[in-house]
Each structure stands twice: as C-alpha cells, then as structure tokens.
C-alpha cells in the first residue's frame, strides 16, 4: 500500500500516537488505544511507559496483544503485579500521566459509555461493561479518548455514564472528588475535540487533512462548536505509516 494514501483509521492512530510524549506513563486500554500507544513507542517516544490493567508495568511487546492479558505483555514487562495492586497502588494514587480509553458512546462533556445502549434493565445493546475504565478516567492525570467519529456514538448525552468525563460542566470533577483532569483530547478518525476551558464542552480544535467541518458536524449528535483557531492535522508521514502498517497482532492470520 502506498504511503501517498491512508485510511481514516490510520490517520486516527497516527494522530493519537502523536498526542503521547516521550517518557510519559500511560495506562492503555485494548483496541485503538493499544495500537496508538505501541505506535508512539516505535516512533517519537521510545521510553513511553505502557501499563495494562492485567498488571504488566513498562511492557514492550513486539506485536500488538489481542487481549489485555496476553503472555507477550508479561514476557516483555519490567514487572508484573497483581490486579488489586495495579489498581490500588499504581492507578489510584495518581501516579499515571495518561489514561488512554475508547468507548461505544461519548457525549458533549466527554462522559463515556461502555455499559448499555438504551435502558439499563432492558437494553437495546448490552456492551461489555466497565473494566478498568471508570477508575482510569478518575485517577490518571489526564485522559485521551480514541474512537471512531460516528453519529450513533457521539451523542448529546450518553445512555449510561460508565466513566466520568467532565460530568455536566466545568466544576463537576472537583465536586465529585476526581483528582485527574479528565479527558483533555478526543481523537477520532475525522479530527480532534478538546474541552472548552470555561464550559468543559468538547469543541472541534482540529480536522484531519482532507476532512471538512461539515463532515465532522454531520457525525456529531450535538451542535458542535468550532475553535476560532481550527488546526488541520498534518497527514501521516511515510515513517508513521510504514511503522503502523508493520504492527502485527499476536496470533493474527498473516
């Protein structure tokens, strides 16, 4: 595949990888966040510390894990600790810089739903549930959300608050006693949203190369505000694309 063209998913993974800085300590969810974090480690952030909720600290997998508990994560880790320890000693006190999450639904205040679509007792779709996300969203110094931008996912209000973003406004996290800053970036396959410092509502701060504001608005379920200094994400570079395309998932058919 030529590096002159790329998919929307590839742009999203590259943009998400760029958002991680060298030396940061990152609590990684499986799926899109895991791809982006492992990409960043192979590009500009070789000393990025990756932590997975299975208890693997500073893991450097050669291939992408299929699940959060793959053996490759334990084999390549500096240390492996128990599940209560990873949550109580490492996440809860605020030692982690970045929590990297995804979700099925996200609302204008970046609250995340991974529990149910519809009513809790009689859902239209039963989703996997919380996993580690509620406490990752609560306790990491900041949260970055990576998810595909679709109208059914970017909703005015989530059906179920699994993980708190900014609640219903700028003061909610403080009132709830949540010590991390919460979602500071939502990176999608169309652009980047960031909370407005005054209202905590997500505004569009960047569109990816070749994407229009109208396209983003059409996939957003609330009246999306656009930043006065809207940026355009630089397209994926050749090295970014070749590295991303060289990532293999453990056990995947070649």
């Amino acid at each position: 595949m030529s590096t002159d063209s790329w998919t929307a998913d590839e742009m999203m993974s590259v943009a998400a990888a760029r958002s991680l800085r060298e030396g940061q300590v990152c609590f990684v969810g499986i799926g899109l966040p895991s791809v982006a974090a492992n990409l960043a480690r192979r590009l500009h952030a070789p000393n990025l510390v990756l932590i997975y909720e299975s208890g693997t600290i500073d893991t450097k997998p050669d291939e992408l894990p299929l699940s959060i508990g793959d053996g490759i994560l334990a084999d390549s880790a500096l240390s492996v600790v128990s599940v209560p320890e990873i949550f109580n000693y490492w996440l809860q006190p605020g030692r982690i810089d970045v929590g990297f999450l995804s979700g099925a639904q996200l609302d204008r205040f970046a609250n995340i739903n991974t529990t149910v679509i519809g009513e809790y007792d009689e859902p239209d779709v039963r989703l996997p549930g919380s996993g580690g996300a509620p406490e990752i969203a609560a306790s990491c110094r900041e949260v970055i959300v990576v998810m595909r931008h679709r109208l059914r996912a970017f909703v005015e209000q989530v059906d179920f608050v699994t993980s708190v973003g900014h609640g219903s406004g700028p003061d909610d996290r403080r009132v709830l006693g949540l010590r991390g800053a919460g979602p500071m970036k939502v990176i999608t396959d169309l652009g980047i949203l960031e909370p407005d410092p005054d209202t905590a509502e997500l505004v569009l701060t960047a569109v990816h190369h070749g994407i229009t504001v109208e396209q983003v608005r059409a996939e957003t379920g609330w009246t999306l505000q656009v930043s006065a200094d809207l940026r355009i994400t630089a397209p994926p570079g050749e090295k970014e694309l070749t590295t991303l395309r060289s990532l293999r998932t453990v056990g995947a058919a070649s």
Binding site: G71, L73, V80, N88, S130
Partner: protein, 269 residues
C-alpha cells in the same frame, strides 16, 4: 491440607447447586477444564462470579448453570460480544440471568476484603458513574480521620473459588506465575477452593514473581493438563486466539451452541 483427587471428584465434592462460585484467572490461566466439568455435572442456580466473564462463563450460562452473574467486564477479549450471555439477558434463554455489575477496581477490592476477613473495602471509585444506581453492593463511607467520602464495596466470599495453576507438589502446595491476576485473593476469600494444575511435581522450584498457595488454604487439587486452554498457561502453552475467534460463530446461534454443548457433555474430563 489439600487432597489430590480427580477433577470430576473435586467438582462433585466442592460445587453444589445454588453456590456462589468464582472461576478466576485474568485472561491467563482461565480454569476451562473445571468449568466444563461443572457443565457435565449439570450444576444449577449458581451465582457465577468473575471479573472478566469470557468464553467459559458464556458456556456455563448457555448450558443453564447460572442464575446470576457478578462481574466487571463481559466480552470475548479482542473479538467481540458474548452471545450466550446476551441471549440470557435479553431473551432469558435458557433461563433468566440476574446481574450485579462493578468496575475492575471495585471487584478487585471486594476480593481483597473477602481475603482479609473484613466486611467491605474502600476505594476512590464510582464517583459520578451510574453503576451505584444499579448495584447494591456499592455504597460510600466517610473517612473517620479526614472526613473524605470514599466508595465502599461489599466483601466477596464465594462458597467455592476455582483457579488453574501451572503446578502443585505432592503435598498440594500450589505455584502459579506470569500474570497472576486476582487468583490469590479469590482463593483466600472463598469458603472452599479447588485448584487444577498442569502437573504435579516432586518439588516446587522458585520462579520469579510466582504466587504460592500453601496446601492448607486449598481444599482440592486436581491435575488437568491443558486445563486453561484455549487461554494460556505461562511457560506451558500459548493462547489459542483462533479458538476465541471461532467461539464467536459457535455461540451466535442456539443450534450451533447446542451441538457444541452436546459434544462437550459426551466427552470425558
């Protein structure tokens, strides 16, 4: 002291209808062989506890063993949904399934409280989420020293915990390593415990990072080679990712699941 018995004997002796049963193993060392034996022995009305109900609980639910599920993440890891769990929740097939839902941090702390012999655990968690509205084992408590409000979760003390380990010695001391998850806490929290092992050895040589469960906190040990497959046993065999993908198709409809189930029942432990 742990008694070393066959897997069918261990399940017959320890797992009873109506029990609260935890099969633990965080992606690694999942006790599939023991779960399959519970299906063969047709246990009913179990409250199944597990942080990450995946294929083995989908199978137990589809086989009609479960009345209730206590969990924090239910899915086929890396693949998708649990179709038997969804069918039970939505259509009550093969029977209704009640749920009690937590976060991982909440479940982990519930086991810690259970293992520690205290009635609840505290954590910074759940604040602002919708989970406490639906889960009665989540509450809050005021710190007597600082006045701070913290989440409180009820201790978990299963009637039986089942885990899989790499090996045990002839006295029934158990050793497991790699991703050790929540197994130690789940065994110590339980009233009775069963450990299946890859092999029984003369001596447990030290392994870095290993958890050792002394024989006197384990009730039964049973050998079950490849007893964690299609999950994996660190140092013994890898995760069979193709089997996880294949389960998606098997579990999607009742007919293909039922023929899978009949085949399992016809096979020996």
């Amino acid at each position: 002291m742990a008694k070393i018995v066959s897997l069918p004997e261990a399940v017959a002796e320890l797992v009873r209808d109506g029990d609260v049963v935890a099969l633990e193993g965080f992606t690694h060392l999942i006790p599939f062989a023991a779960g399959h034996e519970i299906i063969r022995q047709a246990r009913r009305d179990l409250t199944l506890v597990r942080m990450t109900p995946d294929l083995i609980y989908d199978q137990l639910i589809g086989a009609g063993c479960a009345a209730k599920l206590v969990f924090s993440w239910g899915g086929n890891p890396g693949v998708g949904s649990l179709h038997r769990m969804r069918d039970a929740l939505k259509n009550e097939w093969p029977m209704p399934l009640e749920i009690e839902e937590h976060s991982h941090a909440g479940m982990a702390n519930r086991y810690v409280a259970g293992a520690s012999g205290v009635p609840f655990a505290i954590l910074r968690g759940y604040a602002g989420t919708d989970l406490p509205l639906h889960t009665p084992t989540i509450s809050s408590v005021t710190c007597p020293f600082t006045g701070e409000q913290l989440a409180a979760v009820a201790a978990l003390n299963p009637d039986v915990t089942v885990v899989h380990a790499q090996r045990a010695d002839r006295a029934g001391n158990v050793q497991l390593w790699g991703i050790t998850g929540i197994q130690k806490e789940a065994v110590l929290a339980a009233k009775r415990s069963l450990v299946t092992v890859e092999e029984i050895v003369d001596e447990l040589t030290p392994v870095p990072g290993a958890v050792v469960l002394p024989s006197w906190v384990v009730d039964r040990v049973a050998t079950a080679p490849k007893g964690a497959a299609p999950s994996y046993a660190h140092g013994y065999y890898d995760r069979d990712n193709a089997a996880y993908r294949k389960w998606d198709a098997i579990s999607r409809d009742r007919a293909s699941f039922t023929s899978w189930l009949e085949e399992l029942k016809g096979s020996a432990a």
